[in-house]
Amino acid sequence: MLHRLGVLALLVRMFVKSQMEYRGAFWLDRVAQILSYGAVLLTIWILLNKFQLLGGWNWPELALLFSFQLLAYSLGASMSFTQLNTLEDLVRMGTLDALLTKPINTWAYLIFSGLNIGYAGHIILAIPVLVWALMAAEVQWSVGSTLFFVGSLLSATMVTGAIITMIGGTALIWVRSNHLFAIFFGFWELTRYPLNIFPTGLQVVMLTIVPLAYISTVPVAVLLGKPVPLLGDFAASVTLLAGPVLVLVAIAHWRYALSRYQGAGG
């Protein structure tokens, strides 16, 4: 067990080293990402500067929503997105077959040999905004709300990782699955805004089939004491459970997909 963990740590070290080989390019990429997300945050500010409220949420509350979403997404995606985004190519080229013969869990190898430290840019932007917003939005702090904040952030991270893993893993069955990421990111952009502004149909989808509401709008609404559509008083417990439950579903899905894998390349 210890030996296996040692192998995973070595894989991470090797990948980080390779990423940092071109240090200048690495940080230039991070600056570009910070500017890109900063531009989105700025447009939300421009909108709120003119209209004051969006679905009953003011500027600090929306900044909290934005930064919580960005942090949960980057933590979850660093453990899944770039690695599983390339799974489609591994299947098509037949490279995956070589991984399957390695004496290590295929998922663990894929994830840790590509642990994406590139999300540093997201985190550098998200943390200061989150700290400022938590103070400005006047959250009522108590032991309970602090535990909920930490727990819901962890759960949100798990939700992100689990959904991305399921989308990526589908490539094992369908060969192509990357087009599903376009749909994922379509919904993902909506999680920067409060759930209550969307039509009921869309709310239902985001709480069930594409459960991205749990990565931001549901936990942040609970933290701010705002009503959550459809879930009502169950919102807090559902959002804390969503992460662990989806991780279990993702594990089952990965195992199923791997059992259906027949190879596509050669």
């Binding site: 390019a25 230039l28 890109s36 447009t43 909108l47 209209f51 990357n178 379509g186 502004i197 969307f198």
Partner: protein, 264 residues
Amino acid sequence: MTAYAAFARSGFLTSLAYRNEVWANIFGKLVQVFARVAIWLAVYAGTMSVDGIGIKDMITYALLGGVVMGATRHDRIVRQVGTALKTGDVAVWLLKPVHYPLYMLAVEAGMSAYTFLLAVVPTIIIVALVYGMLPPASPFHAAMFVAFCGLSFIIHFLVAAIFGVLAFWLMTIFSLDWLLGSLVTLLSGLLVPFWFFPEPFGAIASHQPLAWLVYYPSAVWLGQLDIGMTLLYFGIGLAWAALLALALTLLWRRASSRITVQGG
């Protein structure tokens, strides 16, 4: 010229082969158009008009943003030009009797035409039926909207191709792609039109080239610009397009004259 027409046709047919990808993309964008409409309904919160702009105008603006930005993808252009320069694949094109940027323009036109006709138009019709959409302010504005859409495509392509060629010096396609993404988010008017920007930023934003991507086509449809102003801003847009074309030509000439391809 026939060669470029063939490239445009091949771009169209390539999209036909990757139907799933195009449809998934459109579905993703459709969700975003729905979201933008929902955002405007939420901020207006029952008010009929803000600064003389009605809620119906803003719903139409959000839908038009989907029309003009739905088909062309700057990330695709930046990556394609950047990768060709970085990998050396561009050398093959330098040997052929075609101009590479024009070839890219033709392919992109073909791909955009496919997405526009078979995906953008139907999806916008669906959203328009759900939320209602204002017709163009007048036949003149309708005709000018079409012209502005063409100009939007050209400027979109030129800016993306310039960013792609910059990869020759900066050697990073990733950051150029994201950088352009941030500029488009803020300065094309896709999310928030410039009439809601605090001054003087609104005035500055409405005179830079990216404003012709979404803001002007949509403003013209809504009749926010009278006949004289419409023609004036079409002229300014053409001038920007000419300037960007010149910049692209110069950058391309410098890049292609200095390119050294190692390996093959």
